[in-house]
Subunit: 458 residues, 2 copies
Amino acid sequence: MERNYVTVDVTIGKLLDEKKYKTLKDILSTMNAYDIAMLLEDMHDSKIQLLFRMLPKELAADVFVEMDEDTQEFLIKGFSDAELKDVVDELSADDAVDIIEEMPANVVKRILRQADPETRKQINELLKYPDDCAGSIMTTEFVSLRPDMTVEEAIKRIRRTGVDKETIYTCYVVGKDSKLIGITTIKDLLLSEEDEVISSLMETNVISVGTLDDQELVAQTIKNYDFLALPVVDTEGRLVGIVTVDDAVDVMIEETTEDIQKMAAIGSSDKPYPKVGIFETLWQRVPWLLLLMISSTFTGIIIAGYEERLAGSLILTAFIPMLMGTGGNAGSQSSVTVIRSLSLEEIEFKDILWVIFKECRVSILAGIILGVVNFGKILLVDGWMLQNEEITAGIALVVSLTLVVTIIVAKIIGCSLPMIAKTMKLDPAVMASPFITTIVDVVSLLVYFWIASSILNI
Amino acid sequence: MERNYVTVDVTIGKLLDEKKYKTLKDILSTMNAYDIAMLLEDMHDSKIQLLFRMLPKELAADVFVEMDEDTQEFLIKGFSDAELKDVVDELSADDAVDIIEEMPANVVKRILRQADPETRKQINELLKYPDDCAGSIMTTEFVSLRPDMTVEEAIKRIRRTGVDKETIYTCYVVGKDSKLIGITTIKDLLLSEEDEVISSLMETNVISVGTLDDQELVAQTIKNYDFLALPVVDTEGRLVGIVTVDDAVDVMIEETTEDIQKMAAIGSSDKPYPKVGIFETLWQRVPWLLLLMISSTFTGIIIAGYEERLAGSLILTAFIPMLMGTGGNAGSQSSVTVIRSLSLEEIEFKDILWVIFKECRVSILAGIILGVVNFGKILLVDGWMLQNEEITAGIALVVSLTLVVTIIVAKIIGCSLPMIAKTMKLDPAVMASPFITTIVDVVSLLVYFWIASSILNI
C-alpha cells in the first residue's frame, strides 16, 4: 500500500507539470478521499488549489473533511464565496462543526454565511454542546422510522432519504414527541417479511447516552457492545443524534494520546505533534519539568543533611542513581499498568485492596530477586573486577537491602496513587511515573541513610 | 448506565434465590450479550452454569464470546458434549479460533470434536495463520456477489444467505477464481435501480490487505478510511476473508496497551491485568528492572571515579538526583511524544531531521528557562533560606549549566532513538523513557563533573 501511494504521488506530480488536467481529473475521481487528502497535504501550496478544484463536488467535500486544519484554512482563504458554498453544502453538520471549532473567527463567519439556513441552524445547535461530550461529536443525520410502519414502507423511506444519512445500517424507531422507543437494522429489515410491522421486530432494549455524557463513555459503550452507532438522547428521552463507530474510534485515539501524554508529564494538546508550534510545545512541557525539578529540592536537602556522615563512606553516593532509577522504574511499571487497566475498565476502585495485595506479592519477590542479584553484582563487578577497595560486604548489604525496600515501596505507591486519584475524581494518569518517582526518590534516600546508619554506624 | 446494571444485578440475584426461573429467562432474553457476560463473570460459579443454561441458543453463543477465558473454560468443563455442540455450532469461525487459542489442549480437542466438519475445516484454516496477522483476525463469513448479478438478484442473495454473515453492509464482488474485483454496499444497492448490474455500480478501486499483513496495518487502514470492514486477499488476489471494524478496534486497543507497556519497561501480555498471575507479572517486569539496574553500574563507576575530587565539594552530590530526574523527565517527554506520533503515522523516518531541529529549539528554550529558575532557586532556597554555607554562586552556576546541557541532550536523544529504532525495524516503544534515562544519566554525570572541574577547579 505504501508503495502504491508513492507511485500515485509521482504520477500526479508529472501530470501536473505536463498540464494533463483531463487525465488528472480521471485519476483523482477514482481515488479515495483519505488518499487524496494525504496527497494534497504534501503538495506545494499553489498545486493544492489547482488539484482541489478538479475534484467532483461530493468528493471535494469528503477530501476537505479528511485534511488537516492548516490545509483546510489555506483552501478556505483561497475560495470564492461560491466555491466555499459548494463545499459547505456537501458537509454534514457534525463535520462542519469539527472544522469550525478549529478555524479563526473570520473564517467561521464566512463558513456560516455560506451555509444554507437549515444547516446553519444544525451547526449552531451542535456548537452549543460543551467540548468532549456526546452532543459535540454526534451527527443529526440518522434514519428514523415510526413503529407502525411496515418493513416495506421502512425500506422505501430509507431508499428515499438514505442518501444524506451518516449511516443507514442502524435505524431508529421514534414514537410521539420524538422519543426513542426502539432500534432495528437494515439486516433485520431485509431478512424480514415485507408486511411485518416495525414495532414487532424492533429491539426495545435500547442502549443510549445523554447529550452531556462524556465522549469517553460513548466510545467505551460502542466498543463494549460492538455497535456501529449509538443513539444520543436529551433529558426527555428524545432522540437528537447518533455517534458512529468511526467517530468513536477517533475519540478513543484522542483520549489514549491524552493519557499517554499525562503519564509522561506532558500537558495535553489535541493537535498532532507536527502541528504543535515551538511555544505551545514548551507550554506543554516546561511547567511539569519545573514542578518536578523544584520538588526534587527535597532529595537535595536530605543528601545535604547527611553530608558529614557521608564523607566517611563516600562510596555510598555512587549507588544513589541506581537506587533511584530502579525505584522509579519499579514504580512506573505498577502505576502505568494500573492506569491502563483503569482506563480499559478492567479494574475499578473497589479492587484497590486486591490490587495492593497483588503488587505487594510481586514487589516482594521482585525486590528479593533484584536485591540478591545486586548484592552479587556489587561484590563481583564493583568490588572484585573494578578493584574498588571501598566496597565491602557491609556496603553491598546496605545497598541491596535499600533496593528491596525501595522496590516494595515504589510498587505499592505506584499502584495505589492512581486508584486513589480515580476516587477523588482526578485523572489517574497524572499520578504516573514522574510524580511517583519524586515521592519514591525521597523515601528511598531516607531508607538508604537509615539502613546505612544502622549497619555501618556512619 | 452503571446504575441500571447494578440494579439488574441485584434483581437477578434475588430471582435466582427465589427460583423464579421463568421470569429470569424472560429478563435475560431481553438483555444484551455483553451485559449478560459481565453479569455472569461476577457471579458465583454454581450460578453461572444455571443462568447460562437459561439463555436461548443464539444468545448463549454471543454471551459466550464476550466472556473472559476463565469463565469460558469453566463453562466448557461443565458442559455435556451436546451442550458444547450447541454453543460451537452458533460460533463464527473467527470467534471459535479466538477462544481456542486461549484454551488448554484438552479443551481445544473437545471443541474441535463437537464442531461440524465445515466449521472444523474453517477453524483449522484460520489457525494456520501466525498470530497478529490479518489472517488470524479475519472472518470467513462475508457476503460475496458476482459482477453480472442485477441489484435485485444481489438483494435476494443477501436475504437468503445474510443471516450467518458477520456483516452484510459491505458486499464483495468476486470474479473468476474468487479474485476480488470490486466492492459495494447495501446502501448503494438500496439506492440503485433494481435492474442495474453490480459491475456498473461497484467500486473497483478496492483497498485490501494480504493474509500475512500485520494486524496493526489492518486497524490503521480501517481507521484511516472509516471502513466498516476490510477485505483480506491471498497472494493470488483471491478474497479469503474480511476484518470488521469491531475487531479492528480490539486490535488497536491491544497494540496501544503493548506500546504503553513497552514505554514503561514492562514485557507485553495479551491478558488484562487482573488475569495475569503473580509469576507472569514478575516475568513481565523483573528482566527489564534487572537490565536497567545493571546498566546503571556505569553511573556508579563515574561517581566512584570522581570520588576523591568530590570529597572537596561534597554539596555537588546533593544535586545529582535533581539533575538525573529532570534529564529523565525531559527525555521521556520527547521520546513518548515521538513514539506516539510514529504509531499514529503523523511522522515517519524521513522527518527525523525536522523532528531533531524542532526538539533542539524546544530543548534550548526549556533548558534556559529551567536553568535560570534553578540558579535562582539554589541561591534563594538552598543557600539563603536553608542557610547552607556551602552553596556559592559558583556551585549554582555549575548545576544550572549542567541542567541546560542535560535537558538539550535528553530531548535530542529522546526524540532520535525511537525514530532510529523504527528504521532498523525495531519497535520504537522499547526506546522509551527507562532506556533513554540510563543513557542520559551517564551523559549528565560526565557533563556535571566536567563543568565542575572547569569552573570550580575541583
